[in-house]
Every structure is written in C-alpha cells, then in structure tokens.
Amino acid sequence: MNKVWTWIFLLAAGALTLLFFSNDFGLIDIQKTAVVAAIGIDVSEEEPDKWSVTAQIAVPDASAAKASNVSIPAAETVGAGIAEVNRKTGWYPTLVHCRLILLGDGVAEEDVFRVLGYFLRSEFVEDSCLVAVCEGRAQEALAAASPIGELTATAIAKVLSSEAQKTGLVCVTDLRTFAKGYYSPAKSGYLPYLSLKKEAENENGQAAGGGKEEGKGTGGAQGEDVFDASRTMLFYEGKRAAVLDAAETLAFNLAEASTDLAFGQVETKQNGETTVYGLKMKITGKKRSLALQEGVPVCTFRIRANAQIADENGRAALEEIAKKAIVPEEVLRAAEETFANKLRAVLAKTAESGCDLFGLEQALRRGFPKEYDAHKETLLRDMLPVFDIRFSTLH
C-alpha cells in the first residue's frame, strides 16, 4: 500500500476516533434535556400501591440557579414515573447529574429497594448519589426554600456532605453503600433521617425552590427552611427498623464511621452543681474487633481520643479559659461514660431491630467462617460489648 493511502487511512481513522469519543453521533439537544438534580419518591396519596415521583430539575439561569419540581402523583414504578416526566413535559430527563434520592418516610415502611432497584439498574444514575429518608413527604422537602438561595437538592446535599460526616453530625450514605448492606447476608443498612425545620420568613418573601406539580405552579413556600439530618434511620431487610437520635448518631459516627473530629456535651456534678461542658473531641484511634470467647461473641470497641473544652454553661475563671486545652480528669471520665452509654443504647437498638449497624455479621463471616452458621442468627442478641474508651487531655 502506498503512502497516500496510509495517510488517508490515518486521517480517516483519526477523524472518526474524534467523533467516537465526543459522541457527535448521539447528542440530544440540551434545550430539550431536563437536568434532574434530585429525585423524591413517596407513596402515592391517590393510589397507595403506586409511587409519587418528584424530579427536581435544574434550570440554568444567568442570575441564579433555579429549580422546577415536576411531580407525577401516581406511577406504577419509579422508571415509569421518570418516563412520564418526559411524556408530560417533552423534556428528556437526564439523571447523570442526579446527586440525591430522597425517600418519604412512608416508603420506608416497606422494602425501600422496591423503589431503589430502578437506580441500581440504570446505567445513567451514579451509584455514588446520596440517599436519605425525610420526615413526611419527599415532595414537600424538595419544594422547601433554601435560605442560601440554592437549589433545594444542593442545600440538602450540603447537609449530607462528607464534611458533615467528618464532624459526626450526620451518617451519610450513598446508594452503593446502602445497596451493599441490603444485599449482604446481614440485610442491614442506615440512611440519614432528614427533617425540615421551618424558619423565619424571608424578608423579601422569595423562595429559591418553587413547587410545581405537573408543570402547574402551586406557588413556592414563602418561608425559608433548614434541614436537620442529625437522626439516622436503621433498616433491616430494606424496612425501617429503628431511629437513632442525634447523640446516638454521634456515638456511632465516632466509633465506626469516618468521623475524627466532633463536638459533644458532657454533664458533670461538682459540689452538688451540674455543669455542662462542650467538648471538642479528636479521635486518635478507633478499632472494633469481634472475638469468640468460650463460644460467646465479644465485641470490643477500642477508642482513643483527645479532648478540649470548647465551652461550659457556667462562669469560668480567666485562668480556666486560658487552660482550655486541659480538661479536668472527672470531665474526661464523664465523657467516656457518656460515650459508652450512648454506644450501649445504639447496640440495644440494633439487637432489638435486627439491623447489623456495626457489620458484626460480616466480621463473624470473615474471621470465624467455621463458627458462622452457629452464631449468625443470634449474634446481635448474644454479643457482649466491651468498651475500651480512653479520653485524654494535654498536660
């Protein structure tokens, strides 16, 4: 083959490869595309055996990010609901940018994977998107007005960010992690439990996220709302099993999750007076290990932390404020006791609900495969917890 043909081949292959990687064969006009930022799913109010699907669609705007919520009140499946968004609006809903799946708490009464299965099947939804349950209806939560003038989905995602997880305020879960727990032999998982707090009226009465149902404006919320996700919902076999309060969530995060710096309150009694200290805790080491001692599963929580006084409810002398890095011994011991008590409360909830929050079944399966069958059913109930918690301070 002569050189001319070689060059023709090379140029043709190069040009086609460019098209190949840039998808110039398969583009859909962006004007006809609806960029879905979040999906809310509720049990349908009209037909309880169907789902109400709300898509929060980001509308690019030069002045600010705006959103439009489109709700399908009754759909047989989530996929059908999303397809109906397309049918009713004429927009092609693209889910690649969907970063939040919000479930109304009615959905959690039954197996939530009846609705989440769609997102696992879809190649277009990232399994790294956040999943949360909200108190009440997801449709209402997505219609809430964010005080920081962003998309509601973005405001919720901020509350559920990895930074919030690092400070122990929220148990953040993405779709992959939640699905891994559900499909594991333990069939357990957890989701942040979001609640909407109605705040003061906005001065100019404008809301960032308006609510529209099937394209008809319903008038957005006039107030501004904040989101609280300090509680955690536990799941067993995909159903709501229990709820951890804020303090229990913090204890779980400090013991198990990727939380290394957190603030917590400790009560101490000195000279008959109760003093409440706000402690800044830096976790320096954490380890959870499972052992079988004389046939009894024993779980040891070994936690090491440094503490500093961030605040206290009483008047402090100037010298005490200057020595904020030094925490009195009785406060440290009280902190250890409080932490252990909260962990005990969490373990009690997991034993009662069957939700293997700490991955004990997994530890048993990996570490003691021969004894696994004998203990797997009764592990959560029979397990003896041992708390090896040490808080220390600068000297």
């Binding site: 083959m1 190949f20 990687f21 064969f25 583009l27 693209t94 690649v96 891994k180 594991s184």
Partner: protein, 361 residues
C-alpha cells in the same frame, strides 16, 4: 518484514493484553467465584503462563514459524488447513471482546443511547492495523506501556482508598465448584497464550527471553489480579451488578465533587488501549490468512475481515448477553484445544524438513 522484538512481546503481555480482562470479565468472574475471584483468575493465569513457557521453550530451540513447523511435519497442505482453522478461531475469539468493548463504549462513555455508527470507527483502525501486519503489534506495544502504566496507576490510586480487602475473606468461601466454574467460564478471556505460537519465527529469541517474557506476563497478570481485588473490595456483593468496573472503580474519590470526573481521562486512555488489544487477534487472523494466500493483496482480506466483524456486530447488537453466555458455556473446549492443547503439542513438531526419500533401484 513482519519482525518483532522480544521487548515488544514482553510489553504486549504486560500492558496491552491485560486490558481485555478489565471490562466485563471481573463482574462475570465474581458471579461464579464470588470473593474467591482471585483464586479462579490465578488458575487461568497459571495455565496461560505454563503454555507460554512451553512456546518459549520451542522458540529457544528453533527459529521456524509455526507454519514451517507444520509443513515440516504434515506437509504444506495440512499446514494451510491448520492455519485456516487458526484464522477462523482467532476471528471467533475476537468477536466477544469486540462486542464487549462496543457495549462498554456505548453504555459507559455515552450519556444517551448512541447510534450503532458510534463504534464503526474501530473497524477502520482495525482494518489499518490488519493491513500493516504484525510489526504494528510491536509498535503498539511500545506506545502502550507508558500509557498503561500511567492510566492504570492513577485509576488504582484513586480507587484504593475505597477498597476493603477484607471482602476477599474468608478464602475458599465460594468452594471448589465456584472457583472451578470461575476458571472454566472465564476461559474465553484467556486466549492470549496462543499468540506467542503464531509469533514464532517472527521474533529473535534472546538469552533469558523466557524469563523476561514470563516476568512481563506475570506483571500483566499481577495488574489484573490487583484490579480484581480492588474491584471486589469496593463493590463486594454488588460486584455482579457492576458490569464495567473500569469506568466505575475510581469515581468515588471525594476530589471529584469539585473537579468532576477527572478519572474519565484515564478511562479513555484504557479504552484506547483496549482498541489496540482488540486489534491483536484480528491482526493475527489476517496473518494466518496471508500465510495461506501469500499472493493476495493485504487490503482485500483486511477489509473483508473487518466488514464481516462489523456485520456480526450489527447482527448481535442487541444480543450481547446471549453471545457472552454462548462463549462461556460452549467455547471452553474450543478455546482449550486451540490455545492450550495446540501450543503444548507444537513442541512435538519437526524442526527440520523431512529428507526426501530416494527410491530403491
């Protein structure tokens, strides 16, 4: 003209051929072998390594090509028949990876359902590579090594923090049957041990060539095993759902929340390497055809070969799962015969031509 350096064959095993096992093979393997997927893959790699060692032993003893060895033993006609069978097998073995790659590209790299035309450029590249002959395999291998090292390292580094290697425990949980099934049904992804046999006589054996090649093969195998470990560590029980882990393992790094999917640059690089990897069996198929028909202009069989592959790609556009199942269930004996038995038996072929018998007077 179709000469390769031993170095290029080493690079081929270390950096080009492993890519074919990073697309759909990991999830397929995890379906059968579950957390023992490393054991199942290791069995396949050991078998392949053994066959490659045997072929290199042959390469040390002779400079003949496989065609010459076959001619010496069975005559030219039989050698041509074997080469036609080899060409058919190589074409057959290339179909699954081509369909796999097409599905990967169209499902992962495209947001919307792309046209079938999107994958057509591959056949232009492949046709060009087929026309240019074996030497392009070596040149591609030279280019591929740094690209593979960079892209693979970055993807692994981004993925490693998410991996929980404890998920691979307890060893042997899938049982002997699971590991055996993983190895057996994984055979369609382990056809590369045939390639050195077809390259016999097209590279000059150097001192220590066996060890160099086997070490390169081990490096490629190690990379695949590491990838499988990270893949299972990230997805655990969901690994069967994650059909294209190459595009997914690195996306969970938090840096992407601000920068976007930076990992896709490296996924693109690996996709490009996969294109080279896919071309290799087609180039070898073309080599077999040209050996049988030496007077044929190369552009004609190359065009016919790639047109046939394009036609099959169109025919099986919606049947990838059926094709994959067919290969996994029915192709094992064929793969074993061509890729494992034939190279092992090649050691018995005559290295020198038969002496012509002089009739008695």
């Amino acid at each position: 003209m179709d000469k390769l350096k031993l170095r290029q064959i080493c690079f081929l095993f270390a950096a080009v051929l492993p890519v074919s096992k990073l697309i759909i093979y990991p999830s397929t393997l995890s379906y059968y072998a579950k957390n023992d997927l490393l054991l199942a893959a290791a069995v396949n790699f050991l078998l392949e390594g053994g066959v490659i060692a045997l072929v290199l032993l042959l390469a040390r003893r002779t400079q003949c090509t496989l065609f010459e060895l076959l001619s010496n033993t069975f005559g030219k006609t039989a050698a041509k028949a074997v080469y036609l069978l080899l060409a058919a097998f190589l074409f057959f073995s290339a179909l699954l990876p081509v369909l796999e790659h097409k599905t990967f590209v169209t499902q992962v790299l495209y947001e919307n359902v792309p046209s079938l035309l999107s994958f057509a450029p591959f056949f232009a590249v492949s046709c060009f590579a087929c026309v240019k002959g074996l030497k392009t395999i070596g040149r591609i291998a030279d280019v591929a090594l740094p690209l593979f090292c960079l892209a693979f390292t970055v993807l692994l580094l981004l993925a490693l923090p998410q991996a929980d290697f404890g998920a691979l425990l307890p060893v042997g949980a899938a049982g002997g049957r699971g590991i055996f099934n993983g190895s057996l049904f994984g055979l369609p992804w382990f056809t590369e041990c045939l390639y050195p046999l077809l390259l016999l006589g097209h590279f000059r054996y150097e001192k220590g060539g066996t060890w160099k090649t086997l070490l390169s093969f081990a490096a490629g195998a190690g990379a695949v095993l590491l990838f499988l470990a990270v893949f299972y560590g990230i997805f655990e029980d969901l690994s069967v759902l994650t059909q294209y882990p190459l595009a997914h393992i690195a996306k969970y790094t938090t840096v992407f929340t601000t920068l976007g999917r930076v990992d896709l640059f490296f996924v693109f690089a690996m996709t490009l390497l996969a294109v080279f990897c896919l071309c290799t069996p087609l180039q070898l198929c073309m080599h077999c055809v040209r050996t049988v028909f030496p007077n044929l202009q190369p552009v004609l069989p190359a065009a016919a070969l790639n047109a046939a592959m394009l036609a099959l790609t169109i025919v099986f556009h919606y049947s990838f799962n059926a094709v994959q199942t067919f290969y996994m269930i029915y192709a094992a004996p064929i793969v074993f015969a061509f890729c494992y038995l034939l190279p092992a038996l090649a050691l018995l072929l005559r290295k020198t031509p038969r002496k012509k018998e002089v009739p008695h007077e």
